[in-house]
């Protein structure tokens, strides 16, 4: 009897120690392992250089003739300069982006530079080619509306998580052992061709073009939802107790 109590007691002490270590490791681990986050960095081009935006895109109203930059990549928690787009502002400037676009009196032209980042920051996929577009929007449009005029934006809880479905999921994903990237070489940006600039071009929708392929499963799903809903309603009517 006595031996079994001692055994149980020592086992208890061991297990409680294990629990303590387990829990402590759990919390300290989450605090230390995450040094960086992967998200879309938001920039303004001022005086021929990129400046990390101090405001969210929805709280900033870009002026006519300016350039907005977006760059996806890993930034450490204590980095205040952000990760700028790898665009050479001598080549990618307002003239080359918006030179061919025309705006009405109550509209403005804003260049949008989108850099999808490096292979290293992509998870098992190839990031799309970086591109620059000219947004022709209402004169009082904010940065988010400017961006949405040229690209699809996935917004979760008022945070811009993905541009054109990149990355496909996640938002501000924590990255372990992140390092700041500096001194990147500029890359070539896909500029809008002269003749294809459209007025307030809504984001090109690669999946929406083949409407029939997409519509059939949707109609099928709709029929299933309606049928099940009607079935549930009929079953409920049969049991008027509720």
């Amino acid at each position: 009897m006595a031996s079994s109590t001692t055994l149980r007691r020592s086992a208890g002490v061991l297990i409680s120690l294990f629990v303590a270590v387990f829990v402590a490791a759990g919390f300290s681990g989450t605090a230390h392992a995450v040094d960086g986050y992967k998200f879309w960095n938001y920039f303004h081009a001022t005086d021929g250089a990129w400046a990390f935006s101090q405001k969210g895109a929805s709280a900033y109203e870009p002026a006519d003739g300016t350039i907005e930059g977006y760059r996806f990549g890993t930034t450490t928690a204590n980095d205040t300069d952000g990760l700028p787009p790898r665009a050479d502002l001598a080549e990618v400037n307002f003239e080359t982006i918006c030179g061919a676009a025309e705006a009405d009196v109550d509209q403005k032209r804003v260049g949008v530079v989108i850099d999808y980042g490096t292979e290293a920051d992509a998870e098992d996929t190839t990031p799309p080619a970086p591109r620059a577009e000219c947004a022709v929007v209402d004169a009082d449009a904010n940065g988010l509306q400017v961006l949405q005029a040229v690209a699809n934006v996935r917004i979760e809880n008022s945070f811009s998580c993905a541009i054109d479905g990149y990355p496909a999921q996640g938002c501000g994903t924590p990255v372990a052992d992140a390092t700041d990237t500096t001194g990147e070489q500029p890359v070539a940006f896909e500029l809008p061709a002269d003749e294809t600039v459209e007025e307030t071009a809504p984001a090109a929708d690669p999946a929406g073009d083949d409407g029939n392929d997409l519509l059939f499963p949707l109609v099928l799903a709709g029929v299933v939802v309606v049928a099940l809903g009607a079935g549930a309603f009929a079953l409920n009517r049969r049991n008027p107790d509720a």
């Binding site: 007691r9 208890g12 387990f22 829990v23 929805s58 996935r154 372990a176």
Partner: protein, 376 residues
């Protein structure tokens, strides 16, 4: 084959099976913001509830949860589309008169309402509403009260306390009504803060009286605590159970949030389950309690649990394989139909046929017998 293994033998399904089934669907709903699978989950839960609902008072709670879900969607749309500038897009629906607020706050009052913001708010609200309806379905199919009978022995006292609280809560409402009626008979107003004070005293007094009576009754019937477990072993089991449940919480968060480091999810969950199970095993050995007419865990229970789990697993696989179909890149595009995820969700409708039918006494009364009674 024993009768409880037949899906046609009328009996009440184990409430734990209903809860696991519903939690599987809720986990699936938490991994997507595509309205197509979300609506499917919603109608699947509604259909199964309509097919296998008993006549117990809690069985009607699905309707209440559905109403709550609609309110959640409405609130989400109002707050996100009308009061926030964070997700406004270029497709302006209409413009309300605006009261200027500093733009740094991210708050706005009135101003433009865009299609993108309304749709985004609707989709996010729909996700929360669907999870709520899953919980509502679990509650109306296998009530929380019946589930409390199966709390492990280590948590026996907590279980008894919860059962008593659940039993007395409706009594409290009746009490309040009685006291109010008495006030009105005496010509006192039953509105305002003063009446609340007058109401609280007699209701609390009545509750205290009843508790003392119940405690005496339970004590005299041998419910008093007579376990001879040592202090250390009690503390160790308490610590194990608590630590295990903490691990389960962190693990479930890691698994569902989808953004934290990998080991926070499944390993933490399994470790927590193991710890809690060990703790409950040792704690449960202290006390031998009887169970009154326990529900068996037979083939139908496995089938119902399995279908819920299948929905969750297919959703997680679908998120891995085609994340773009489940997290919409743009709200204005026609939502794609993720076939794999939808097929998984449709499997979860099987309990409407696989769960055994209810015993005749527990079935909701149909209209005809009542009319016959009136005629007789």
């Amino acid at each position: 084959m024993r009768p409880q293994h037949l899906v046609t033998f009328p009996r009440n399904l184990h409430p734990g099976a209903w809860w696991l089934w519903a939690l599987g669907l809720a986990a699936a709903a938490s991994r997507t913001q595509n309205p197509v699978p979300l609506l499917l989950i919603l109608v699947v839960t509604g259909f199964v509830v309509a097919a296998r609902r008993s006549n117990a008072p809690w069985a009607k709670s699905y309707g209440a949860f559905l109403k709550l879900a609609l309110i959640v969607i409405a609130i989400r749309i109002v707050f996100q589309a009308v009061l926030s500038s964070g997700s406004q897009g270029p497709t302006v629906l209409f413009t309300l008169p605006e009261i200027p607020v500093p733009s740094d706050t991210g708050i706005k009052l009135g101003g433009i309402i865009s299609l993108e913001a309304v749709l985004r708010a609707f989709y996010e609200g729909l996700q929360l509403a669907t999870i709520l309806c899953c919980i509502g379905a679990a509650n109306s199919l296998g009530s929380a009260r019946r589930l409390l009978r199966y709390v492990p022995g280590a948590l026996y006292e907590i279980g008894v306390a919860c059962v008593i609280a659940l039993t007395f809560a409706p009594q409290l409402v009746t009490d309040a009504g009685r006291v109010r009626a008495a006030h009105r008979l005496r010509g006192q107003t039953s509105r305002g803060l003063g009446s609340l004070k007058r109401l609280a005293m007699p209701v609390l007094e009545g509750a205290l009286d009843r508790s003392i009576e119940l405690a005496a009754a339970m004590d005299s019937r041998g419910y008093g605590r007579t376990t001879d477990a040592g202090r250390v072993s009690r503390r160790v089991t308490g610590l194990l159970v608590f630590g295990g449940l903490l691990g389960v919480c962190v693990g479930v968060y890691g698994l569902l949030a989808g953004t934290s480091a990998g080991w926070v999810g499944l390993p933490m969950l399994l470790g927590g389950c193991l710890l809690a199970a060990v703790g409950m095993f040792f704690g449960g050995r202290r006390t031998g309690r009887t169970k009154y007419r326990p529900d068996p865990w037979a083939l139908p229970e496995w089938l119902v649990t399995g279908t819920g789990l299948a929905a969750a697993v297919t959703m997680f696989v679908a998120v891995e394989r085609t994340p773009a179909d489940l997290f919409l890149a743009s709200v204005t595009q026609v939502p794609p139909v993720p076939l794999l995820a939808c097929a998984g969700i449709l499997i979860a409708i099987a309990p409407a046929f696989l769960a055994p039918p209810l015993p005749r006494s527990d079935r909701p009364q149909t209209a005809q017998p009542q009319q016959l009674e009136v005629a007789a």
